[in-house]
Symmetry: C2
Subunit: 188 residues, 2 copies
């Protein structure tokens, strides 16, 4: 009794992971508000009360289901930075983790999600600004780089704009390269 049963713990972990997976899917598809505990439980094939038992609250479930955006770039010169950003974008356009989609999906309507996204974008902006060659308004230029890429990602992954979804990710990245370079190294 006092010794925990490994197989039971294992089962619990498996069930918890399955619930988390269903939660990620639904949060990614419908956002925080329109996703119900009932729907998550049903998708995971468990009782709604079990979801509460494991995660305590819908908010807690969302917090654990949501995943941050990719880590900020680490490059130190402009060209490497642009390459790194485009490599990240290419990966993102190939498919973002559902936990990340969940966070992005809710960022405009859920303040908690907005805070997390703001945080991550702020960090990304700082990292980009640090790698930018000398020039005016490094932080603003970095923020423009980050938000422009965010717009492309949102248009592709969340709005499903056909010109973007139809194009191969590599082509998109190639077309963006000179634009990002222009932001990274303004001639003034």
């Amino acid at each position: 009794m006092s010794v925990p049963d490994p197989s039971r713990t294992g089962r619990r972990r498996v069930t918890e992971a399955r619930i988390l997976g269903s939660a990620r899917e639904l949060f990614a598809a419908r956002g925080f508000d329109r996703t119900t505990i009932r729907a998550v439980a049903s998708a995971a094939g468990v009782d709604p009360a079990l979801v509460m038992q494991y995660f305590g609250s819908k908010r807690e479930l969302f917090t654990r289901a949501a995943q941050e955006l990719p880590a900020p770039p680490t490059a130190t010169d402009a060209d490497a930075l642009v390459d790194q950003l485009l490599a990240t974008l290419t990966r993102e356009l190939g498919g973002l983790p559902e936990g990340t989609l969940a966070l992005l999906r809710s960022m405009l309507t859920d303040p908690a999600a907005a805070d997390r996204v703001r945080d991550t974008l702020g960090r990304q902006t700082q990292a980009v600004a640090a790698a930018l060659p000398a020039g005016p308004d490094p932080e603003l230029r970095a923020a423009l780089v980050v938000t422009a890429l965010l717009g492309v990602t949102v248009g592709h992954q969340l709005l499903g704009l056909t010109p973007l979804t139809d194009a191969p990710a590599g082509r998109t990245a190639a077309l963006l390269r000179p634009a990002l370079r222009a932001l990274a190294r303004p001639r003034a």
Copy 2:
């Protein structure tokens, strides 16, 4: 009795406009799901039943409160196009109509809002593509222009990223100009 009283019709129109204004504010701030008929009525200083009386349903109220994004550009050459897009952006960063904010705020979580935004962005993309100088993938390049600007607008107006909100709109537009030019006229 059979003759409508002008002053009453006028009062009704005034009240309706006040309700619509409150609805725009709340939809813009919280999105469709988190805005309640009760909250709209309270903000407008009327009874919730009156809102239903005038607009029939919450969905109908939202439909009438939401306003499309600015009209697509009409320029026919690349430089004029970029100037026009940046002028529009500058105006947007100065402050978007609340009905438009309402639409954008809900575009990731409300399918009806998503449809309207997709529609408008699609039209914008077509218009930009038509004005683009000859080159490969005009539609894709146009979509990248449109989504990049959308990202900047969202980052500024809805997420409130400080590097963007702190910068004068003209500075932002100036930094974006070479980037948009690079998208408009790829060297390949």
